[in-house]
Symmetry: C2
Subunit: 302 residues, 2 copies
Amino acid sequence: MSVAELGFWTDGAAKSAILRFVDRAVADVAPEERVAVFDNDGTLWCEKPAYIQLDFLIRRLAQMAREDSALTAKPAFRAALEENLAWFGDAVTRHYQGDDSQLEELAGAVLSANAAISVDEHATRVKAFFEQTTHPTLGRPYTACGYAPMIELLRYLEAHGFTNYIASGGGRDFMRPVTGAMYGIPPERVIGSSVGLVYRDGTLVTTAQPEFFDDGPVKPVRIWGRTGRRPIFAAGNSNGDIEMLQFTDSGPQPSLSLLVRHDDADREFDYTAGAEKALGLADTSGWTVASMRNDWAQVFCE
Amino acid sequence: MSVAELGFWTDGAAKSAILRFVDRAVADVAPEERVAVFDNDGTLWCEKPAYIQLDFLIRRLAQMAREDSALTAKPAFRAALEENLAWFGDAVTRHYQGDDSQLEELAGAVLSANAAISVDEHATRVKAFFEQTTHPTLGRPYTACGYAPMIELLRYLEAHGFTNYIASGGGRDFMRPVTGAMYGIPPERVIGSSVGLVYRDGTLVTTAQPEFFDDGPVKPVRIWGRTGRRPIFAAGNSNGDIEMLQFTDSGPQPSLSLLVRHDDADREFDYTAGAEKALGLADTSGWTVASMRNDWAQVFCE
């Protein structure tokens, strides 16, 4: 991987903006303040046709429904049994469009799916899923669905003294078991949504109570809670990343806010649903837009 | 500072246990899993005659009461105006003894004391306090009230590949502005109690809503939330540290749980209030007890 030259990036405005920003940061920002935050779904790894975590949860819901047929009366469990992925994807898209009714139905099922187990058992389930599951249309393991240019960018920032964090709406404890191998980001630098945990007899046990939904205006709050710093670099791809991108570019230091645009039906997917407002704001806010089709020489690692 | 030999520690059981544990950890535990957590009040810095943060809050409450005399009808504001430190200390001691009534009165006042300001303004207030205030009986700046043997221990653990975190019931955003200079611990490794923050127009603003009281069984939950790891070293001094010490010594790796005992009226303070249960459990749990009088050659840095 040609980290030194961002070889997976095509020469153009996005690559130039990144290189220029990193030069300025190295010149003007103390290393401990070179904090970079990355959304995960759609920014570091593929989020279509459905979130990877939804596939994990759907398989678990289907298993629960097979073990207890009474559950099939509930739409989320029925959709899981019928492998109706669109029902799940719709719930999240509608959330970003302002309609939360289907998301609430989904959330109840999701929160019950891995409740009342230890955090170690949860990590074991996540690892087993990633070892056994491939992407439904791309035909590659989920662990190979990270974007090569973005992983290269993580290394490039690190090589210039940055510390990278994930700040995702996805589940913190769903990402942590694989972010080290996929992105070189250790668990202590993964910020995400979470369910409540309780301490019991020397271990931590999952509950079915939501703790954080790490999205929208919650992202800057959680980034501060975890780091005590304002990032100088942020990358996202959806309306849920707007406040994180704004928080990053509102500080006194040089900063770069990067928005990934999914416009490559040949190599990945082409969609703007759930990102309409963010793409509109990019123009007026001076954010850098990375077009997957035009700015990325390669999408996935070999 | 003779980090290599823990020179601020007297030869004895506590020092031997630390040296033996670190040797084992270096031999048997991967560096990224060498996570150490430290309580702050009474473990890293002096907590008597009252918590340092209480002094900060009392000064702020007194200022508010001087500006609005209606506030003097409230016990906490009246105690602040009258410099009645004992009222505040009692509230916390009673909490550890199971009576929360006075703590609730205190909490309401405390939560209002720094509400509706930006996190940057909050940090400015904290820094000003530490620059201007000395300990009421020890006659040294609060910034010099850290325990020399514990700061030496932080460096010793670091020198052996450990990553140190603070996990304190004290305020996260109260500690962060000074932990770098006092302990060499950056803000991203400070875990503590917090009030809710809201994102507004590019900045984060404090609220008067409590978020976490990072104490007792909440400590292991927050340590996991922040690090995704089970520590292998923990140091505390009160009943509020019991679950953190248990969580640390319940894992599969070599571990050390250290309890600081305040038994040195000549050089610091002599008290067990709020630590009775922890000191009792130390015997039955195999925790290492560090007697300030017997195990520390020196208490404070010069």
